[in-house]
Amino acid sequence: MKYKILKAIDISGLNFLSPVVRLAYRENPRKQLREIGRFIIVPIVAFLVFLWLWSELAPHHRTKAGEVPTPSVVWEASKGIWLFHKRETAKADAYLMSSADRLKELHATTARLSELDALEAKANQKITEVKTTSKEKFDAIVAPSKLAYDQKREQFRAANTAREAALKVEAGKLPTLGADARLAYLDKIRQNEIRTEAGKEELKLLKAKYTEAQTKTFPEVKRAQDAVTSLAEERQFLSKYMEMLGKDSRESKSAESSARLSEAREKFLTATDGDLFRLGSAVVKTEGLLATTEGSQYAKPWTLPKQIVRSLICVFTGFLVASAIAIPIGIFCGLSPTFMAAMTPFIALFKPVSPLVWLPIIMIIVGGFMPEPENHWLVKALDHVPVLKEYKVDPMFISSALTVALCSLWATLVNTALGVASIDKDHLNVARVLRLGFASRLFKIVIPTALPLIFAGLRISLAVGWMVLVAAEILSTSQGIGKFVNDMYTNGSSESFAQMFVVVFIVGIIGMFLDRIMIVFQRLVSFDSGAAAI
């Protein structure tokens, strides 16, 4: 059993877990503890040191979007993203709920709203308390610097006016004096200017200190304010939720529509005078409205979890296209040195091209293929696929996927060619002695030999593709992680800034999982028990 677990750990590449398993089976405890220390504790400690450094250094830098967020702020922002997603999903579900469930939810919501009243009252109280205490502290800090500034300003003004007055008096005497006196007078004016500038500099410094003191935020105040804001947000959500459960739900809207429909039909069937054509078309229109209402859904905005799934679908589409192109071409390249020589200039030339350069070109080309996306056969076909239709395949999605494909296919191509070209001569001799046909030789000997290198190439391609995708999505505004980052960037609030940091970690974690999966595949396929690189 132990060896089965150890083998599974080895295949999945999670070798840092094996000392834990061995320790559980009491094999050589000291050695296992040492290894656990080295491979588990040390990385954790390093990460904690990194988090500490981050939280120390971040508040020192002030930007247009507020301070650089610390880890705790980023964590709060990630919770905010998840909360937003849950609330939107709740609204979408509420729209579709049936009457029994709706009643239950309405009861629960009203109860929560009354709770909220009490909570809000308390929170407001707390805010006033905190504000008064902080105001005292505030005054204690700000008042002296304000005083100093005001005093200095008065001094400066007084001194300035005095000097100018003196100079004017002297100027009055000047017409009677000669050129030397006038030049000396000019000097005095220059001196005056210099002293005025110096005075202004001093004032500026004092003002900066004063404003800095003014903008000093007290964490307790911010916390209290945040509490009030989150309660207010919840209240707003709950009231919208109640509306969604009540008159805005699909059921009630359909009921409304069908009531109107029956009314219109009555009118049409019993009308003695009036325009029957108009009444008839009204009936038909109301029928149409009813049909749309019954099939409608809440227009949920794109939340980050959904954008992540769309990004993943996009990257896998691009990856599959890349593999479908690169693997056959790679096999031909490996089999025929002439073909390889023909392909070499393309590989060398197009491999370094950045995705941000491909993307606009591909967007234009794809746009040319799909001038009217809604009427294109591909979009219509994919609209019928059950899971995919929620994720809206549009030309931007296709452009992003093709960019991913174009940038990530080179790694697979080169590795496949290498794998196919470096088959053991003896294996080929065996094929000749057995008189294997071309297809037999290809599938039974060439491809299995090359598989480990092919999978190594696929792994690199997927990693490159994931990096390319996030960049391409920012540029192509296709719904996904990149679009989320772009939206947060243009938003500019400090919470958006923190959410961008959340995206860093999400992208990293997903990339890590994708890499792990590819490592498992690579290990399964490789027959020479060579460890894959981390």
């Binding site: 003896d426 065996v430 000749r432 002695v433 057995l434 008189r435 039974k444 299995p448």
Partner: protein, 307 residues
């Protein structure tokens, strides 16, 4: 030299090399690896070719198998010219060349399926298992080559070659990569299989003992480049040969000495080394051979010189 000249009797040659040369480079400047090689192997004969490294032994096997074409002369089997490789000339490579992603069973099955295209699934399986049993590897049937020892891998290679039921067996230094004890075991196994299913065998080896133990005829290959086959040494030791008693046989001892001397004589390096041990002594002549006698008091007395 006690070896008999090549073929005093007319044997029916089954596999033959007729004035074969193989080399590379343009016509005018050709470097021949093998030059004017003549070989005639009778049916069901066991021939061993012995030579040094780099003398073109593997090239010889490739020529016999049909994996390479000679630049002069031709290779014939049963009178027909050999143009390409095929399962009738089974090759056992020095590096086993087993496919690492297939199990033992899979490797042999692949050979059987390619050669016997109209076998049913059950027949293929039965045929494969028979040959796995022949080399005594049934317990390791589902193991991959990486999980086997060198001797076991060579046995799989042998089973694969035998399962093709070739008419000629070409063994290219099959046991060189193994340790001496495993080599002994495998030599006995090959001999035992050969005695049961008689076949023409050409064995390339660098071990004189192995050649004498296994072959009917030992043919040395001269040093490269431009190697050729030297006159053969027939082995008339009675079969089955037992390695334990072989050492006591005078014929074995003579044969071994002859072959070894011949081979070492081919070696230019050894020759030049021998030259180096010849020291030229200075030309001196003793003046007096007379030993000291009791009369002269027991000491040397140098005669007066007329200098």
């Amino acid at each position: 030299m006690t070896h008999l000249p090549f073929s005093t009797e007319k044997k029916m040659s089954f596999l033959e090399l007729d004035n074969v040369s193989i080399g590379f480079g343009p016509e005018a400047d050709r470097v021949n690896v093998l030059q004017d090689v003549n070989l005639s192997v009778a049916e069901n004969e066991f021939v061993a070719v012995i030579g040094f490294s780099g003398s073109g032994k593997s090239t010889l096997v490739s020529l016999l198998a049909g994996l390479q074409k000679p630049t002069a002369g031709n290779v014939r089997m049963a009178g027909k010219e050999v143009t390409r490789a095929g399962p009738e000339r089974g090759v056992m490579f020095q590096s086993y060349s087993l496919l690492p992603w297939l199990t033992v069973f899979g490797n042999i099955e692949m050979a059987v399926k390619s050669v016997f295209k109209n076998f049913s699934k059950a027949e293929v399986r039965e045929h494969t298992e028979r040959y796995i049993e022949t080399v005594h590897l049934t317990p390791a049937r589902d193991k991959k080559p990486q999980e086997l020892s060198g001797g076991m891998r060579q046995r799989v290679s042998l089973a694969r070659t035998l399962s093709m039921q070739p008419e000629v067996l070409l063994l290219d230094e099959p046991l060189s990569a193994l340790d001496a004890l495993t080599r002994a075991v495998l030599q006995d196994e090959i001999l035992e299989i050969w005695s049961r299913e008689k076949r023409t065998v050409v064995l390339i080896t660098n071990d004189v003992d192995e050649a004498i133990l296994m072959a009917d005829r030992i043919i040395p290959l001269t040093m490269g480049p431009r190697s050729t086959l030297a006159p053969a040494f027939p082995v008339s030791l009675a079969r089955p040969r037992d390695r334990r008693t072989l050492n006591d046989s005078p014929e074995y001892q003579h044969l071994k000495t002859d072959i070894t001397t011949y081979l070492l004589g081919l070696n230019q390096e050894a020759k030049s080394l021998r030259n180096k041990t010849i020291l030229h002594m200075p030309e001196i002549q003793p003046r007096d051979f007379k030993a000291p006698s009791i009369n002269s008091g027991g000491t040397w007395k140098f005669p007066k010189q007329a200098s």
